[in-house]
Symmetry: none
Subunit: 257 residues, 2 copies
Amino acid sequence: MMSIQDLLLGERQALIRTRLDLSGRVIAADLAQELGVSEDTIRRDLREMASAGLCRRVYGGALRLSPSTTSMNERIGIAGESKAALARTAAGLLPAGATVFLDAGSTNHALARALPTGADLTVATNAPAIAAALLERDIATIQLGGMVDARVGGVIGTSAIRDAEALRLDILVLGVCGIDQDAGVTCYSFEDAEFKRFVAQRSRSVLISVTNDKLSIAAPYSVLPLSRVSRAIIEADADATQAAALAAAGIDILRAV
Amino acid sequence: MMSIQDLLLGERQALIRTRLDLSGRVIAADLAQELGVSEDTIRRDLREMASAGLCRRVYGGALRLSPSTTSMNERIGIAGESKAALARTAAGLLPAGATVFLDAGSTNHALARALPTGADLTVATNAPAIAAALLERDIATIQLGGMVDARVGGVIGTSAIRDAEALRLDILVLGVCGIDQDAGVTCYSFEDAEFKRFVAQRSRSVLISVTNDKLSIAAPYSVLPLSRVSRAIIEADADATQAAALAAAGIDILRAV
DNA sequence: TGAGAATATGCATGATTCGGCAAAGCCGTC
DNA sequence: GACGGCTTTGCCGAATCATGCATATTCTCA
């Protein structure tokens, strides 16, 4: 039996980095106790990692450097932090051993990046960028095949649906273009809507994470009625009336931290 | 009777590699006891494997280079400039309108990054990271589907082959693990070799770009004989004797600038 | 400004590593 | 079969490293 204190040096730092990625901050004293080493050792680790540009050292611990270090996050831009907050919350809702589908979209890309390295999940996706992020985190990945739609950033259409037929999912994390109490979940492309609907049929539950700008938006093509959505994660400062409307439709509402 | 300590050098290293793949970490002292050799021998093995890029050496043992910390970014970083030079030269060899396949691998990832935005190409790939780079450059992309092999960084196996059946390629840009005038093009995984061979059948020409460390390397699994390779791009300072050997096999040799 | 926590620095210690060296095994040649 | 060259391996000593502790310094917060 391997106990937590028998970590090799590199492993300890990798674990700290994962912790940083996940929650954005670590506290030296907590890490020391948790990993069974002295605070000095943790501080040395943090100092090293900071000088290697992997985190920012602060009094008492360390912080993740602002998400502008990676190319994709730069593209996500200003909305990055709120998306990352949604993503961290969503990451906590994926149980070990689950088979999950991450639909294309920047919100789900953030979720892929929020997953801890080596997470015990099998994740299928139609978006190459998401698959690449999953691979970097050493997570079992299934990539759907076909011509990639540049607007969606993922594979849709017949080949994707054919590949998706082989899947049996515990959780579908849906990228949504709009959600509205009357129109339900909607998106901007007919084929994309068709694809999402198909994947939803193959999944036991449907999870969506919704930025504020998607609330009360009805896009042209209908994806699912609200009754098919199991759970929604909304931003910490999301409008209470709209949240209540979704909850009234039977959706389990979670606010991101 | 062959016991565990009668392993040949290569076998021992292969076993260590398996162990690394499996659990992500090995401890020198444990391996020494388990394999019945001295710790010095294990350390020598680990040192060799580390300098061959197969693991990361840490105090007390070694770790798998986990994609999160090292994989693409660092592998690109280490040999970045020479790979970028190969990539620039290769990019110039893809004619407008062509249908191209970019095989998984850091060299081809560099090629994808070297392509100009909006290039008039249709590019198929089995590697999500490459597909993501192509999408960022607004290039028509076809992604093969299936379970992604973490070591290869791309999809291989039956589903990938099934998807590849639909392709008819002008140029296959092959990622090679080794090229040798006797062994031909070789790689480290049986399934990967099988996949590459299949794609090669569907392509009118085969292009490879070869870093110096791949020259005169014969990996375990044979991919193609040299006669099937149309063109090879080698580094500016590649060994002249080895270049001549490839040219003698009928390969069109180009030196990168 | 002062109390208390957090940090940097130097040092001791035990474990690990590196380089060189020699013994043993393997190979081809004479 | 004997010989020399080559590789692999184990062992030794010196050097290096990771870690914890003690001490002086710096920082935060009230």
